[in-house]
Symmetry: C2
Subunit: 335 residues, 2 copies
DNA sequence: TTGAAAGCGCTAACAT
DNA sequence: ATGTTAGCGCTTTCAA
């Protein structure tokens, strides 16, 4: 192991004949330092190859300028873009982010939060696993700044940012109804998910307005393309066996929709004439896919950016945010 | 701003009547502490809600257990999976990662590295922008453990991990040649990229073996679906105007391939009969896409995992790694 | 405008 | 098995 020792302000102090505090002031730009002194210090720092030790600095200032970002899976295209939004905005504002995946596992979420607390992050942005929420309740109780992304957690008063899922569901269903579809299948996510419940609510609202003219069938499945594919296969054959002829499918997200489309293709069902398909999220690939997917679009990067802003605002003046971002139905070729 | 003060080992020491060092030992599990003493300390720590301050600890130990991960764009599905591999493996080994995007900008890369040095990360995993490399040369000179991912940098002796691009190119070209294709277009990335050069090399090797029976045409473009789409449009019309009838296209990556397929579809060209298309990377969506893409596949998560392992090994015993991961041609419906 | 002293929370080194 | 001392590199008093 090569011996590494970083240059410290003490070294600069010795080299310049000044005190450490003057050096500190010059380098951090706080307090009075004569112009020539500052320049001299800066020059020596440069020569010596000085790099500030932010751990030492944090220890004193109680600020790390690090944010914890907890997501379910950073390789999921949805979160990938959200994380990107957070990262860009954080960097622009002098913050760094520590990224942790939970893989939808509550234990992992608990560990992630603990680790981030040990690192004394200035705040956390969390997409909650939602299966349990006591860890987040406790976090809030500790007064650690945080924003919960993509869900609202019952009984927990903190910062929230999410998309207008109910409106998204409503828009998707309304669109299909206007197209004359009568038998809609909602291929939804599990009930413990806030977004799944809200989307369902919006869809039901639109369907209810038809006064029984349109019927809604609901199946649920857990995340992942393979899961969705297998689930849909059995759901669809169930429906067929019951003699129910679905003519439109609203999917919990675009990934589910891809799975649905794949199976529909295998069955030789024509999209959208026989069955129309709507997704949620508008992943980058959804417009490239053949056929391009009709989907409820949200600005994922913006979600990240706004989450960051809300967190910083909370850190600075303790205000609580409840931000809901608008959604938009993007009609392409599957409806 | 709510007054937050974390519990320290000093608090525990007072509460327990023991010295801070004993508390430290009990908590960190180093050195001898009587069983009952340890239990007592652990209990009090629990009661008081103690969370270790890793910044303070790092200051002393000179180890942060943080790794810097510098990628071009974490929302690019390729890097998204790589980052995931790193994150999982890091977490498993008690490390955290600070993620930074460079957006293929050299200045950003310089800033990212500087920031990470200030944070005293134990090491860095970097996908280099490659347009300039002096920043990385300097990093290496400072003896900061690092591994460069996806490229080899001329004149810089450090840890490298990358995929067998030359072999990938060779396999892709050989496959097309065996299919009887005669006029191959290589729709490549820019020349400053190591992977682009290596893939080209492999392709040329395969083409050369046909003794002039097969001809190769090369166009290059910068990253991004839109760029690729526009570039390909003009490249393809150029070729047509010259009376060159391409019957196979090897794309620098899957994204380029999607752009190519999109335009080919617009033109009504039949894939793969009229023109076959091969991509690189095997993004998750490439198998879902219609038609499913033939592509050179690499295990991206593994790339991340191996990068992490190489870095840790370098940190621990200073050995240099040069890891090349195998690639595989996955034939689907575009060839 | 500059400096001295003290301390952030932890642990290494050396006692006892 | 437990404690003392000192110090990591920085910044916050308080003084000059």
């Amino acid at each position: 192991m090569t011996k590494r020792r970083f240059v410290t302000i003490k070294d600069i102090a010795q080299q310049s004949g000044l005190s450490v505090i003057t050096v500190s002031r010059a380098l951090s730009g706080t307090g009075y330092v004569r112009k020539e002194t500052r320049e001299k210090i800066l020059r020596i720092a440069e020569e010596l190859g000085y790099t500030k030790d932010s751990a030492a600095s944090s220890l004193r200032t109680k600020k790390t300028k690090i944010l914890g970002v907890v997501v379910v899976d950073n390789s999921n295209p949805f979160y990938a873009e959200v994380v990107k939004g957070i990262e860009i905005e954080a960097r622009k504002n002098g913050y760094s982010i520590i990224l942790v995946n939970t893989d939808r596992n509550y234990e992992n979420e608990v560990n992630a939060i603990n680790m981030l607390l040990q690192r004394r992050v200035d705040g956390l942005i969390i997409t909650a696993v939602q299966k349990r929420t006591d860890d987040i309740a406790e976090l809030v109780k500790k007064h650690i700044p945080n924003v919960i992304m993509g869900s609202k957690l019952k009984g927990i008063k903190t910062n929230y940012i999410y998309t207008d899922d109910e409106d998204g569901g409503y828009k998707a269903a309304k669109h299909l109804i206007e197209l004359g579809k009568k038998n809609i299948l909602l291929f939804n996510g599990m009930k413990y998910k806030y977004a799944a419940r809200m989307r369902e609510k919006g869809i039901k609202k639109a369907v209810a307005r038809t006064n029984g003219d349109v019927s809604l069938h609901i199946y649920r499945t857990i995340e992942g393309f393979e899961n969705a594919y297998q689930s849909f296969k059995s759901a669809f054959s169930n429906l067929s066996n019951q003699g129910i002829a679905i003519d439109a499918i609203i999917c919990y997200n675009d990934i589910y929709a891809y799975a649905v489309i794949k199976h529909l293709n295998e069955l030789g069902v024509h999209i959208p004439d026989e069955i129309a398909v709507v997704g949620f999220d508008d992943l980058p690939f959804s417009s490239i896919l053949n056929p391009p997917l009709t989907t409820v679009s949200v600005d994922k990067t913006r979600l990240g950016i706004e989450a960051f802003k809300a967190l910083i605002k909370n850190i600075e003046d303790n205000t609580l945010a409840d931000i809901v971002l608008p959604v938009e139905l993007v009609r392409r070729k599957t409806t």
